[in-house]
Amino acid sequence: MQYIIPVGLVTAMGLLAGGILTIADKFMAVKMDETAAKVLAALPGANCGACGFAGCADYANALAQDEEHAVKANLCTPGGDAVAMEVSSILGVEFEGSSSMIAIMKCSGSRDKTSYAMDYQGRQTCKANKLFFRGRGTCEKACLGFGDCVNVCAYDAIKLENGLAVINKYKCVGCGLCARTCPNALIEIVPDKTRVVVGCSSVDPGKVTREICSIGCIACKICEKSCKFDAIHVVDNHAVIDYTKCTNCTLCAKKCPTGVIHVFPKLAGAAQPKPQPVLAETAQAEASARQV
């Protein structure tokens, strides 16, 4: 008897618990949305967050649950037109065309243009360096040159050249991961028709900028006066282009005395194949990040 009671009791409890769970699972099952699964399969799976959701799965769920189609089907910038079209057809909404974006770099301070204020020996990331006073550059808003943006880019579109992050316009898909990573907020996501970029974010007065950087914007406002479309203005001691008004006429770039307004060459053909994410590397980075 001293064996039967405990063994029987635990067995009965186990069976009871199992039974309850089985019944609960049957009665309260939540169906995995078929639409969500299809949409998820159509998305690139880079989990970059360019759509504004926590990842591809989150975006797919939001699309599937949204019956009034308030969530747009073309938010996936890395996927471009192809993915937007596929998602639209799954959801049965009209294809609107993807809003293609690219990242632009708003600093031109490579090593031959500006210098470091300190010989920084700490942890070699932009984030850590920015916490140390205000970063190692003589200019507060200079590219810190440790390549946090390079490491975060899943498309291999950013390279460090002479201490300055340079974005490869042809590889960039405009997901915005780098823009969110840069501690100086030097990277901006703009429409991909953009050809004119102010390569400076300096907040110092023109005189100071001239002393510490040979290319930095000196806030002379010549661009502002030359622009016929009211698209460029000096804000916080540097020129800022309003891309809703800019027509890519490049007049400001020609007038700029320091040459800090850069002009991209015209795209040869509009149909550039969209690059694929370097998924293996991203997965590895995620796996190592998960380890304690």
Binding site: I5, A24, V30, R123
Partner: protein, 197 residues
Amino acid sequence: MQEMMIILFSAILVNNFVLVKFLGICPFLGVSKKMDSAVGMSLAVIFVMVLAKAVTYPIQTGLLVPLQIGYLQTIVFILIIAALVQLVEITLKRYVPALHQSLGVYLPLITTNCAVLGVTILNIDEKYTFFQSLLNSFGAGVGFLLALVLFSGIRQRIENNDFPAAFKGVPAVLIAASIVSLSFMGFSGVIDGLFGH
């Protein structure tokens, strides 16, 4: 009332489950990387601790003690808690999806967490009444939250510092954990002093 305050605050500070009793170290080290996930995990732990205590207390007093099979406590409690958490997860997923989204990831993680099992068993050893047990479980959960939130702050400082190669990663975290644990020793005696015997 005084006794209640002593039970609650000693569970949070003096007998902190993570830092003084060293239970639930795995989530303490694993989920404390970010403040958000630390808070989410801790809320799930508070919820499960109180619920587990409410379910296991009647089983202990009504079933195990009369049948004189108290030695089955551990195995029965694990069974009950695991099944309970699964049931809660299914129910939440169906009826409160918002709560399931914030707690959902962490619920399965704590099904067999030793802090949850520990709180149910330790309460019985202390011979608390039903209400006192619930209060103590709640306090233990809040203590867990406190430890995780404090430590996630420290870990963010660790992440952004340059350590010697030998200490990088887990060793630095363990040393920091031991120092935080040491600092909690300072609370012993404080509660008695505050609320009196």
